[in-house]
Amino acid sequence: MYRALLEPYQHQRSAIHRLSAGVKAGGALAFVLAIVLLPRASWTAYGTGAALLLLLAGLSRIPPTALARRLLLVEPFALGVALLSLLQPNGLMVFAATLTKSTLCLFCMVLLSGTTRFSALLRVLWRIRVPSLLVTTLALMHRYLFVLVDETGCMMRARRSRTFTRDRASAWRSSASVIAHLFVRSSERAERIYAAMCARGWKT
């Protein structure tokens, strides 16, 4: 699910991409806050917001299919919960407003993540004085995410080549053992990273 569908587009050079990460993040936050705080029936406002986002999306030159795919990935949960809201008087209004709000905000965040690199967002967090331990954790997590995902893929393929039964129990056991090995390898790698940090003078 998290195959970073928009990562290939983060390196483009559109007008939006070139804006500073702080501006983009701040703008996205402002937009989301505005939409969320609007009274439920502000349909004209929603329309304006949608138009604005479509304009920005066009300027960003990210293929609309990629954006649509990202949007559709997260919609199901929103849809599911929104459906539950029907079960009350005035439910239809709540349902429609909630779904509209969440789709608009979703689109906004998808645009943000498609035009901004996580490393740039981290620098913004650092500047606004988010605790360094949290920023370091986020940075290391992002850095090694792809390494671990690749390792997981390798291990799953290796397991599957040695599995001759198709039953669920063995699928569960092999997934679990892959996760366990991933943890062990991650622990060992963390030790080596610590050594590499010390080797370059990391002051703890």
Binding site: R117, S119, R143, A195, A196, M197, R200, G201
Partner: protein, 248 residues
């Protein structure tokens, strides 16, 4: 003053097995020395002693001296700037989000900022042939490029002794050629632990053979590596480059 002096270095793993015994050798400034031996000989363990990562608890008498200073407190911070250790897996060494930040990590710890820092990083990247790689993400780099980023990080600290752990493993022929050329061009002292015997012949006039934690031979590369008996006795072999010498 020698770049590196090792006198009677011994080390035991936490579970009690002997890793290194009675290691004794010197490396002059500007020299390139190969460190070879079978798997498990203790090459990596030895390298970790060169910047004080090992032993975990400082010995009473420091066995290793780098550029005249013992590898022990209170010299450790300075030693770690002078000794650049290249780890086997570049993914362990590149831990920052972008190339620029990773190369800048070392100098930052040393207290550089602003324009001075930027210049240092730029020069290091230039030296390894990675100009313009500032904003690249580590996981988008090839293996060879990652190795060069690691080297840039060490050069940015103005390391005077490079300790390299298997620098050409996992590299394709082009990556290997580029790295070899790079190492050749760097005037710093180098200790290269490797299985790549051809690299040793091409780069290192002197070689140290390690087996089961002890130095079993050290001397001129051409002589030792051509000694088939010695090579085979210690889990190695005579490299091809020395087998088929064509008169020019």
């Amino acid at each position: 003053m020698n770049a590196l002096e090792v006198r009677d270095l011994a080390y035991r793993y936490p579970d009690g097995t002997d890793a290194l015994q009675g290691i004794r050798f010197e490396v002059a400034e500007g020299e390139r020395v190969g460190l070879i031996g079978p798997n498990g000989a203790g090459k990596s363990t030895l390298l970790l002693h060169l910047n004080g990562l090992l032993p975990e608890h400082p010995a009473a008498v420091p066995a290793v001296h780098v550029l005249g200073s013992p590898v022990a407190e209170p010299h450790l911070a300075a030693i770690r700037a002078r000794v650049g250790l290249l780890f086997q897996d570049p993914d362990d060494q590149i831990f920052c989000p972008t190339v620029w930040e990773d190369v800048a990590f070392g100098p930052l710890q040393l207290g550089l900022h602003g324009a001075g820092l930027a210049t240092r990083v730029e020069q290091a990247l230039e030296q390894v042939g990675l100009r313009g790689f500032d904003e690249r993400l580590p996981h988008h780099l090839s293996r060879g490029e990652k190795r060069r980023v690691c080297l840039a990080g060490l050069l940015a600290c103005e390391a005077r002794l490079l300790a390299l752990d298997e620098p050409t493993s996992d590299l394709d022929p082009r990556g290997r050629r580029e790295l070899k050329g790079l190492l050749e061009s760097l005037p710093v002292t180098q200790v290269i632990a490797t299985h790549d015997l051809e690299l040793v012949v091409e780069l290192c006039p002197r070689v140290i053979v390690l087996d089961r934690g002890a130095v079993v031979a050290q001397g001129p590369t051409a002589e030792l590596l051509a000694d088939e008996q010695l090579m085979l006795a210690h889990g190695l072999e005579r490299p091809h480059i020395l087998r088929h010498r064509h008169p020019h």
